[in-house]
Symmetry: C2
Subunit: 308 residues, 2 copies
Amino acid sequence: MDKVVIGVDVGGTKTTAALATRSGQIIKLMRVQTKREEGAEGGFKAICKMVQNLLEEAKKHELNVIGIGVGFGGPVDFERGVVYLSHHVHGWENFPLRAELEKRFGIATFVDNDANAGTLGEWMFGAGKGINDLLYVNIGTGIGGGIISGGSLVRGWKNLAGEIGHMTVNPNGPVCNCGRKGCLEALASGEAIGREGTKRFGRTMKSEEVFQLADQDNEIAKQIIAEAVEALAFAIGAAANLFNPKRVILGGGVGEAPEHLLIEPLKALLPRYTLPQSSEGLEIVRAQLGYDAGIMGAIALAITVRQE
Amino acid sequence: MDKVVIGVDVGGTKTTAALATRSGQIIKLMRVQTKREEGAEGGFKAICKMVQNLLEEAKKHELNVIGIGVGFGGPVDFERGVVYLSHHVHGWENFPLRAELEKRFGIATFVDNDANAGTLGEWMFGAGKGINDLLYVNIGTGIGGGIISGGSLVRGWKNLAGEIGHMTVNPNGPVCNCGRKGCLEALASGEAIGREGTKRFGRTMKSEEVFQLADQDNEIAKQIIAEAVEALAFAIGAAANLFNPKRVILGGGVGEAPEHLLIEPLKALLPRYTLPQSSEGLEIVRAQLGYDAGIMGAIALAITVRQE
């Protein structure tokens, strides 16, 4: 029987699951909405139902599911496979997700946070293919990230590595969602760009509109974007000095901004914040997986860990 | 025959070599002064002479030398074993040190920069024993560093990782030796502390004296140290968000400063620059190898790489 894997991407209100080959081809994909008020219990039930469904699909095609990878929207103790907590849904605190899934399905399971999974996804199937030293920065509502170094995901002591979004850029900057001041996330996330647009234009504005206006040469919008890019250069430059990546991959909604507003000025600014030998030849590219990053990351997780 | 290794620590004007067991016990140690004006040629001759001498010593005791590790004072292409350059001695540009040594002695040889070697040394024999996620920061005249993540040294694309000394802390800060502004090294190295002492006291001063005065409660000196510690907290906090280490090891001359002037305020400041979950339980300790860091690092390099 051919060997396949199952990936599960657990978001705040949306869970996606897929049966896939070990080269990342999706055989069947399912998506369900879950209700926040149903908490971890409702979320876990939904995961089980989808996995059960995909296992039946595999059986039908005489495929052997050798691993399950779960990308979770919140910090996870990777070694023990236990969720620390969800920022969006109650009841996930210390939930032993790996053990519960392995008990039910008897298949080796790996649980990680979605930023790590996303990093593995871009590395295996996206803009990081074949690059063993890379930095992935996901710039959406918030900013998350992950690091591949020497062909391995950098996890750190408690699997909390990659938090470039909470690097302090300006100690006197705006207050961040984490409660501290001047984090990258508070200066360059979609939310931060929207906040500045709202403030400086005097009406509610999202980051997409600020980018649109900047693209139309509006000076105020251009200034807002320039400040966000400067903060990104500061943080990415620091990371480049610390672990000397060959490629930086920008994902998330903001990562899809026009090159001349994001990637080009970022490249121009990096030498200000990075040693010349580390910035020389450093590539900055867009992520490739887009909307599929979550599920492809979960599939990558199942595959990668089995190869370790 | 018992298996042993040779370590060589190549500094600007001083080269140290040692025959050692694989648990790091030194059997014989040699130190020679080399002249800068003799360039790489003179330095390489000195290395060969010492290695030859130590090989004869090994033979006398019926010991089998299975590896040579060289810690070099400048950037090195680790994979190819080629020195990029020395900041102090001419003629080292693109010198194939590993190939030349292997050709002469027929023993597997590994060449790395001294910051990486020092990190491996503290990890194997010093303050980092048994800790698989650590950050080593050497605060001497300059500031170097290294990262162990998941039990491996983080090297990066071109073996240039670990350059925490050139992380920008204050974009408007003093000019650094690297030519950029406000690097950690320009704010918290021994040289930077001495420079501030000289400026604010109006007479030539070294960092040691600034620490002494601060220890005697001198307000100006205390302020200088506090500013340096704030810069260290900023940079170490950023690294902790990125790598989530369990332990931070402070080495070099400044690392030996009294705990109440360095480690204690650093611990108190870190939560300002690090996510609570990453700073919680994070240990900050002094390096243990002191003056022997260089040679123990070279020995560690020979041992570690053989175990990989």
